[in-house]
Amino acid sequence: MNLTIENVTKSFGDKKVLNEINLEFTTGVYGILGANGSGKTTLMRILASVMKPSSGKVFFNTQDIEVLDQKYRDVIGYLPQHVGVYKSFSTEKFLMYIASLKGLKKEEAKEKVTEVLELVGLSEHRKGKVGKFSGGMKQRVGIAQALLNDPMVLIVDEPTAGLDPKERIRFRNLLSKISTNRIVLLSTHIVSDIEFIAREVLILKEGKLVQKETPKELLRSIKDKVWTVFVDESEIQYFQSKYKVSNIGRDQEKFQLRIISDSKPHQNAQNEIPNLEDLYLYYFDEEVA
């Protein structure tokens, strides 16, 4: 099973949101990392067939998804960034509706709804109105609907945005549980979402694919670029203005700064083992979430 993206470009007017993307996915979890506006959602939408590329093609098992049309949509599950629901529907009714959209027969749909509700931990809320659910619960309804057709390709766009830490952990665990024998594409700007479950991490920046490697390889690529330095409080501002500081911690009288830099930022700086947050900061000049 493979999903291939060939020279995909997407433009809105003069603005290129995706620029000549080439990728291949096989079974496993892929984390798509990028800052806001990097093109993650557009890429997800193209893969979910709710948006068409301006140029280029996407192939599923060597066949153009546009030609496959509903055959392709039959094998995908999509959780968009903003989970839409009918507020007055019960969870069960809403999922039954989505099941019918996915072409499941009534009896099969009933079984599947029970199964996915169990999986996402919403069995007790099957009669509850979706509109009254918390963000995390809605997100679980969202993932439940995406799983109804037992998809070969699962596309989840920023699934943990807006969730509290407990819900994020629950979601990561859930994703790791369901990722066997599927292609799971998970876009996020939250590094911890993918740190331990992604087989490969893709880094998108301004519509371009910057990196596609295993987390281990990616971390190796910045192995000599993460430093720790102990400074006085008065020096913090200097380092913040000159370097990317990923963390500031207090250690008795001194402050410990974690700095991302191609060169050694201070003569007393010590080289550190990088993590994915360092990697994110290395590529995206913004605060780590």
């Binding site: 948006m51 949509r73 839409g84 507020k87 959209l101 996915k102 072409g103």
Partner: protein
């Protein structure tokens, strides 16, 4: 089938449709109530049947006597008609009206003998086939037909606009469109489900107001007179169609329903394009009402006016299709307006379905 059930469920969950329907039906009564009495019906019954020479003479005599009596009475105490006399006068006038229908038709036939237009033969054939002589009390059917022409437009139009304008826009506003467009049956199959649900909804609306129409008007004015010809109702005085009230009412409902179906499909199309329910509502409303405003407010030449009359609001009204002899010249072959309207509505509906199908196939999520 499952999708259709869900679409119907979503449609009938809208409380506003029930509220609007009740309100419109209440207003359609004009908040007036008159009930025909048995003695009035009995008076008509005395004259019921084909109008013979003898009946014409009797009606003429009766009319003269009554007029004379009235003149005398006016001089004496200023009092004019009793209720019985009013009814009798109405009967004499109706008989005179019916005699004139046939007289007009015969005059028209003689005139046509001298003409040789593309549609002359058809009109002659229709007028020869003409028999309006059967007299009976028929106020009930008249009222029913009138309601199905006039109030039906507001009822069907408003109910379709309110019930269907959100059929696609609600998917966009709720964000469910992402699931829909990425699912196997979310495009063409869902469109069919939505169109089918819209047609069922339309059918139910038409049946609902028709039941009220029959109940309300038959209760007030009686159920007699369905076999009198439509020309007895003044709006169809010049109509060349040989239908009785019952036949015409069925045809009227059929054409109204066909136009309503087509309008429902148009609403689905507009809803599939618009992101905002209110915009969809106003666009559909404008498409529905504008031809009426143009025809009523502007003095248009007949040919141009007829183009606007082949719009939803007028075809749903049906009246203009049958009130006179009107044909469309199709390469020298005359096609009656009702046939043109039916063909037009079928063609438009099919085209709308095709366009909508194309749109939903190509639809992309934008926000």
């Amino acid at each position: 089938m499952q999708l259709l059930k869900f679409e119907l469920y979503k449609m009938y969950r809208q409380k506003i449709i029930y509220f609007t329907f009740i309100l419109l039906v209440l207003f359609s009564t004009g908040f007036t109530f008159n009930r025909i009495t048995d003695w009035e019906k009995d008076l008509y019954r005395e004259w019921e049947g084909p109008i013979s020479e003898e009946k014409i003479q009797l009606a003429h005599q009766g009319n003269e006597e009554l007029t004379k009596k009235m003149d005398e009475r006016v001089e004496e105490d200023g009092f004019v008609y009793s209720e019985t006399e009013q009814t009798k006068m109405g009967i004499y006038e109706t008989i005179s009206f019916i005699i004139n229908i046939e007289k007009n038709a015969n005059e028209k036939l003689s005139k046509l003998e001298k003409e040789n237009n593309y549609n002359t033969d058809l009109e002659k054939a229709m007028l020869k086939d003409f028999d309006t002589s059967y007299f009976a009390y028929n106020k009930g059917p008249e009222k029913v037909i009138d309601y199905a022409s006039v109030y039906s437009i507001f009822l069907t139009g408003a109910m379709l606009l309110i019930g269907l304008s959100t059929i696609y826009t609600q998917e966009y506003s709720s964000g469910v469109d992402n699931y829909i467009l990425s699912s196997k049956k979310g495009r063409v199959s869902l469109l069919w489900a939505k169109v089918s649900a819209s047609l069922i909804y339309t059918f139910v609306i038409v049946i609902a107001w028709e039941l009220f129409n029959l109940g309300w008007n038959v209760f007030q004015f009686g159920n007699e007179g369905w076999d009198t010809s439509i020309q007895h109702y003044f709006k169809y005085y010049f109509s060349p169609y040989s239908f009785n009230m019952l036949e015409y009412h069925f045809i009227q409902l059929g054409i109204h329903l066909l136009a309503a179906f087509s309008f429902a499909i148009l609403i689905v199309l507009i809803s599939s394009i618009c992101k905002n329910s209110l915009i969809a509502f106003f666009i559909n409303g404008a498409i529905f009402a504008t031809p009426y405003l143009i025809v009523e407010m502007l003095m248009l030449p007949n040919g141009v006016e007829d183009i606007f009359r082949f719009s939803y609001i007028y075809i749903m009204n049906v009246e203009f299709l049958f009130d006179h002899f009107k044909t469309f010249n199709f390469f020298g072959y005359p096609i009656l307006y009702p046939v043109v309207a039916i063909v037009w509505m079928v063609v438009v509906s099919m085209a709308l379905v095709l366009v909508t199908s194309h749109i939903v196939r190509k639809r992309e999520v934008t926000v």
